[in-house]
Structure formats: C-alpha cells, structure tokens
C-alpha cells in the first residue's frame, strides 16, 4: 500500500483493487508434495510399503514359509498364526510376506524388460521407415494373441521358474510398448528441433540419443507402471492355474491356488494374498495415473 498524500495532492493514484482469490500457499517439502500430487504420493507410499515387506520379510515376525506342519493345518487366523495356516500347515502370514518378493520381482522385471525391448523396437520402427512396416506387422501378430494364453503357451515349453515366468509375460507386453514408443517417435520426428539438430550437423544416432530418447521416457515410464501392475496380475493367474512359479516358492498366485478348493469354508487362505495383490496393483496404477497427469504434454512447459 502506498501513501498517496506523501507524493503530493496532484498525483492521481490508481485504485488498489483487492485480490479476489485466496493466496496460493506453496507448501514445501513432503507435505507440499502430498498435497499437490496426492495420487503419486499414495501410490508411491503403498508401493514402497510392499517393497519394504518384500525385502524385510525375514524380519517381520515370519517363519520359514515352506515349513510343513500337517498337524497344524487349516487353522483360522489367531494370535499365533496371524493369517492362519493352509492345507499343509504352512503359516499363511509368512507365505504372504515372502510372496511379495516373487510378485514384485516379476512386476518390476517384466516392466523393465518389456520397456527396454519395446523401446528399442519402437525407436527402430519409428525412425527407420524401411523397417517400420515389417516390425509393426510382427507386433500386430503378437498382439492378436491374448497375453495370458501366450504366457501359458510359453510356459508349457519350458520348466516352471520365476525367470521363465518373467520372460513369458514380458514377451506379451512388448508390442504395446513398441507401438507407444513408435508413435511418440513419429511425433517428435516432425518437431522443428529435430530439423534444427540435423542442420547443426547431428548424426542420426546423436539425434536419437539426445533428442528422441529423452522425450520418450516420460510416456514410457507411465506405461511401465501399468505393465508392472498387469504383470503382477498375470503372474498370479499363471500360478493360480499351475502354469507359473513352482508351487514350492510362495507367490500370491500360488497361495490362492492352494486355497482354491477350500475357499468357501476357509476363505482366509485366498483373502489375504488377494488383498495384498490388489493393494499392490492399485498402488502401481495410482502411481501410473499420477505420473501421467504430472507429465501431461500440455504442461510440458513446466517440465
């Protein structure tokens, strides 16, 4: 506020109109982040919790998840057995905690693998016109097979192991990533800054590395989170039908498979792994949604 009279009576000062909106408070730090991006905060929080569980499973009050104790089978949840026991007397709580390892390992690995492969194929397809047609037709062919059936078929060809499950699921996810990357590459190719880079003497490799790649990472990251969620579910389905991880290794799908026949009388066997599975997939999807909104190209100016 300025004092008009000090300037002299002949000075005409403009009316100071008040603000009509309350001020925007810029909360720094973690609280600020949570308030500004609640979806990402929630998703990340849940995911980190699950990751923590996976790493710290031996220290969270668990016992050997493969230890059989037929005398104690099919006990309901109690003080001793927090989630109860299954048909072989194994402690479900421990199996669920250790099961997080398999599910998260599969989820992250598939996301990473499919993204890397899809990125490479998409870049090739988008930038090298001659190969585009061929590559896309192969991708179309792969996409026409439902991913779960593809994974089942591939698992039938090899022995059951976590690695093979990862490869089988990843293969089915590659085409979608490749298409996404390809469409982003095609858009970026038309941008004037790519022409400017060519005029600056950059080689194709340099352009792909410095200009195209950095701008594909944002949509790719969002897609990777969705792949992670999808992979976790597919893994559990594969295990549920017996085509996934070997029954000894606890995975959320396996635990549910074991409880399949008894679910009407002993629902807790399926309930707990299912709950953890759902929360994890929810976390990953929330993270993906939040990232997608945050990285929206219309806001690209802010990035």
């Amino acid at each position: 506020m300025t004092d008009v009279t000090a300037a002299g009576p002949h000075v005409a000062a403009a009316m100071n109109l008040p603000d009509i909106l309350p001020p925007v408070r810029h909360r720094r730090g973690v609280t600020g982040f949570i308030l500004r991006r609640p979806t990402i905060a929630l998703g990340l929080g849940l995911l980190l919790t699950m990751t923590f569980i996976a790493f710290a499973a031996p220290f969270l009050g668990t016992v050997d998840p493969t230890a059989l104790a037929p005398a104690k089978r099919l006990r309901a949840p109690s003080d001793v057995y927090w989630f109860g026991t299954d048909a072989f007397g194994r402690d479900i709580y421990s199996r669920v905690m250790f099961g997080a390892r398999v599910s998260l390992a599969v989820g992250f690995s598939v996301a990473l693998l499919a993204s890397a492969a899809g990125l490479f194929i998409g870049l090739l397809s988008g930038y090298v016109r001659a190969l585009d047609g061929l590559i896309m037709r192969i991708m179309d062919g792969m996409m026409s097979i439902p991913p779960i059936l593809l994974a089942v078929a591939l698992m039938a060809l090899t022995r059951a192991s976590v690695q093979n499950v990862i490869l089988a699921i990843a293969l089915g996810e590659v085409p979608r990533v490749a298409r996404l990357v390809r469409s982003v590459v095609l858009t970026i190719r038309e941008q004037p800054y790519v022409d400017a880079a060519r005029a600056s003497g950059s080689t194709i490799g340099s352009i792909i590395l410095r200009h195209i790649l950095p701008n594909t990472l944002a949509p790719l990251t969002v897609q990777a989170t969705y792949i992670c969620g999808s992979a976790i579910i597919v893994e559990s389905i594969l295990s549920f039908i017996g085509a996934g991880t070997p029954p000894i290794t606890p995975s959320w799908g396996n635990i549910m498979a074991d409880g399949r026949t008894l679910w009407q009388v002993k629902p807790y066997i399926i309930f707990f792994p299912a709950m953890f599975l759902s929360l994890t997939v929810l976390a990953v999807n929330l993270l993906g949604d939040g990232l997608r909104d945050a990285l929206d190209p219309r806001l690209a100016k802010k990035l």
């Binding site: 004037p192 800054y193 880079a197 003497g201 701008n215 690209a300 100016k301 802010k302 990035l303």
Partner: protein, 327 residues
C-alpha cells in the same frame, strides 16, 4: 565481385500425397523451377502467402530433405547430390532459425547443451572449458544473460527462446542463416528486438540471410533484395527500393495493397483478389496467377510467362511487361 554464397538453379520439389486405394497418388508441386542467388552478407527475402512454397525452399536449401531436381550450390560447391556423410561438415556454413519458439528447442535440453550441440558436432571446442567459454560469448552476442546457460527452454519467453535459437545458429560461425518465419510468432515489440538483433549480427559477422516471411513490412525493414513467390514460383524479384517503389507483378501489387497501414487516415486503394489460392496439386495452366489476376487476358491462360527484366536488377514474370503498351 565475390562469388555468391548461395546459388539455387531450377529447383523443383514435388512430393506425392498418399493416394486413395485406387488411382494414382497425387503430386504436390510445392516448388517449381525456382532460381535465385544470395550474395555474401546480403539478406534476400522470400515473400509469399501460405502454400506458395517458401518454407519448402528454405528446407530444400538446408537439405533437410532431397530435392526432386535442380541445383543448390553453397559457395561454389554443389550440395544437392552429396551423401549425408559428405554433407555434414558443410552444414557448418548454413544454419537455420525456425518459426515457433516453443517447438524449435528440445524442451529437455538446457540452453548450454543446445548451443553446444553444433560446436561439438563440428569439433569447434577442444575442451569442456572452451565450450563453456564459447557458449558464454554467444549468449552475450544475442543479449541473453550468461546464467541462462543452465536453464531449460520453458523458463524463457517466446522472444528469449528465439534468441536461443539464433544463438544456436550462430554458434558454428556460419556464412548463411535461413530464417524460416523467424519473427512471425512473436509480439510486435519483441519482433522489433529480434529484427534489430538479426541486423546487428549480420553487420558484425558479415552473414547472409535467407529471410522467409509473409510480413512485407518486416521484410522491407530487414532485407536488401526481395523475391515474391506464388504457388511454387518466383513471380518478381528486385532490390528493396525498386520493389516497393514500383511493383510490376499484379500479385505483388495486390499483396502490397493488402497490408494494413498503421495510420487511420491513410488512403487505401485495395486491390482485392478474387477467389482462393488454387491447389498446388493441380496448378492452373499458363500463368499460375491468372485465375485471380485483375488484368488477365488470353495469353495468360495458355502460356507461362518467364521472368523478364523490367528494371535494374528487377525481374517479373508477367505478360503485361512484354506488351508494347503498358496498362
């Protein structure tokens, strides 16, 4: 007389449009048999409205795509037939500034990296320290603060981003810069800043500019010579004064009369053109402008006029100039 820095002869660029399922693909005659020269240190403006092919000429000169036929000669060396690898070192001598300040810079590249890119590609800086020094010098030249180097494009205004684009173009010390509508997307006062910057830089460095624009008033301020384009051809070319004092081609006359004058009482003798721009897929036979020309007569419909001399260094392609009696 030193050799012109750029000589373009009989440039043609036709490209096919995706045809339907049946029938032949249509061909867009974007640029048809164009020839011009740019002398060292001079600004030649390519003026025309949308669809005339001026941007295509700019990109063709820069070899951003292959031309259909013709010759592009940069300082005596033919560049239109060179392979990518052979062309690359020559690119140092011709650079570009694009129109849209928002999409002509990589949003994820810092200003320093953007300017360093041509320096690195052409081996103009031996060390990181030398690179930084050169980047600072260039930022000074385009009147941007030195700390701009670490920032990203979105932190700058449109005018500042154009300065960054100009900095990137100046970095390898080129002989020619193609300005493709470089000021069209800027506000009035910012346009003035950038036009003045380009003129200053041209004088300081002896640069030639190929200034592509549709804004005749800006073109008058910045160029030495002007070529007016219509539907892929040059219809008139002249030194600035000669063109504005006495435009000979009816299209140039109409174009000049259409520019709104910032003076409320100025007399406006508007030459209104009939109809719309014909499609470059099927340009009209004879003189391409005949469908809209107020002075059209029979010869115009069948015979295409050549560029004839109508004054000192002034050429125009109009049958009226071949007539013994002028209208």
């Amino acid at each position: 007389m030193s050799r012109p820095i750029l000589q373009v002869s009989n440039l043609k660029k036709h490209y096919p449009l995706a045809g339907g399922l049946f029938g032949r693909a249509k061909i867009v005659h974007a640029v048809d048999d164009l020839s011009f020269e740019v002398a060292r240190g001079e600004t030649l403006a390519l003026v025309g409205e949308s669809g005339c092919g001026k941007s295509t000429v700019g990109k063709a000169v820069l070899r951003l795509f292959d031309i259909t036929s013709g010759q592009v000669v940069l300082d005596g060396m033919r560049i239109d037939e060179l392979s990518d690898g052979a062309l690359r070192p020559l690119r140092r001598r011709m650079q570009v500034v694009f129109q849209d300040p928002f999409s002509s810079l990589n949003p994820r590249q810092s200003v320093r990296d953007a300017i360093a890119e041509p320096l690195r590609n052409f081996g103009l800086a031996a060390s990181g320290a030398e690179m930084d020094r050169k980047v600072s010098e260039i930022l000074d030249r385009v009147r941007l603060p030195r700390d701009a180097a670490k920032r990203l494009p979105h932190e700058f205004s449109g005018g500042q981003r154009q300065r960054i684009g100009i900095a990137k173009a100046l970095a390898p010390n080129p002989d020619l810069i193609v300005c493709d509508e470089a000021v069209s997307a800027l506000d009035v006062s910012v346009k003035a800043q950038i036009v003045n910057l380009l003129k200053d830089v041209q004088k300081e460095l002896g640069l030639a500019l190929l200034f592509i624009s549709h804004d005749l008033a800006i073109v008058e301020n910045i160029s030495h010579r002007i070529a007016v384009m219509y539907l892929g051809k040059i219809v008139e070319m002249a030194p600035k004064r000669s063109l504005f004092a006495g435009p000979r081609h009816p299209y140039t006359q109409a174009l000049l009369s259409a520019v709104p004058i910032p003076e409320p009482d100025a007399r406006r003798e508007r030459i209104l053109l009939r109809g719309d721009l014909p499609s470059p897929i099927s340009p009209p036979p004879g003189c391409r402008f005949h469908t809209r020309c107020p002075y059209v007569f029979d010869r115009c419909r069948t015979e295409e006029p050549e560029l004839r001399s109508v004054g000192s260094a002034h050429v125009a392609a109009c049958h009226l100039d071949a007539m013994p009696v002028r209208r």
